[in-house]
Symmetry: C2
């Protein structure tokens, strides 16, 4: 059995985050030592690892709840693969949106480079943004 600090260290997250997951029921209620400190075993670490890996992939908590029950059920490939493929689509959509934003910003910058004059001339980026 390991402490909450050790658990957090191994799963690469903070102690308050572990307590938070317990409070929302994403982790089961931890066992306690005599003094009241939480104590964890290998299974707890495995589950927290699963959660953190998913959060690193920006999978929302409610989705992870579904995944955790998948992982504790029959672990069917079909459902699991569908889950991750859906998540990839979400990420891809986000990448596309960000690329568009980047393009927009680069166009604004171009308008300054091509239209603004060197010395203290009011920058034209704003004229585009306020229209």
């Amino acid at each position: 059995m390991i402490s909450i600090g050790e658990l957090a260290r191994r799963a690469q997250c903070t102690v308050p985050t572990v307590r938070y997951y317990e409070s929302i029921g994403l982790l089961p209620k931890a066992q306690r030592r005599e003094g009241g400190h939480r104590a964890y075993d290998r299974a707890d670490l495995a589950r927290l690892n699963l959660i953190r890996r998913c959060r690193d992939c920006d999978i929302p908590i409610e989705r992870i709840r579904e995944l955790v029950s998948l992982s504790e059920g029959q672990r069917l490939c079909g459902e699991t693969v569908a889950f991750f493929e859906e998540q990839r689509r979400v990420i891809q959509a986000r990448i596309d949106a960000l690329k568009e934003l980047d393009l927009t910003l680069s166009l604004h910058l171009q308008s300054c480079r091509s239209n603004c004059l060197p010395n203290g001339d009011p920058c034209e980026i704003f004229d585009q943004l306020q229209a």
Copy 2:
């Protein structure tokens, strides 16, 4: 002078969002009609447009505060361009992170495709995620 609904429609945001911006001081306190309804002019629309364009580019509100004061000051190209270039760096970093996540997910999916057996075999994705 136009109503808050009309303003929101033109700037492509919701009415509560406009009131929210006023409440945090990003928009100045609106003028009022006799009955108490807010009334806006062209300058208000320009400012809201500036704010929304930036939010569409995911620039945080506190950064937009700086930008608004830039836009109301001398509008120096140097400062303005630096502002937007910094923002592009932030967006680029986010794109890079998402691409890495996508790669991670695709590797997990590969492990299923290459290791899992067809019929009801427990999916191996979880073994990776829980390690």
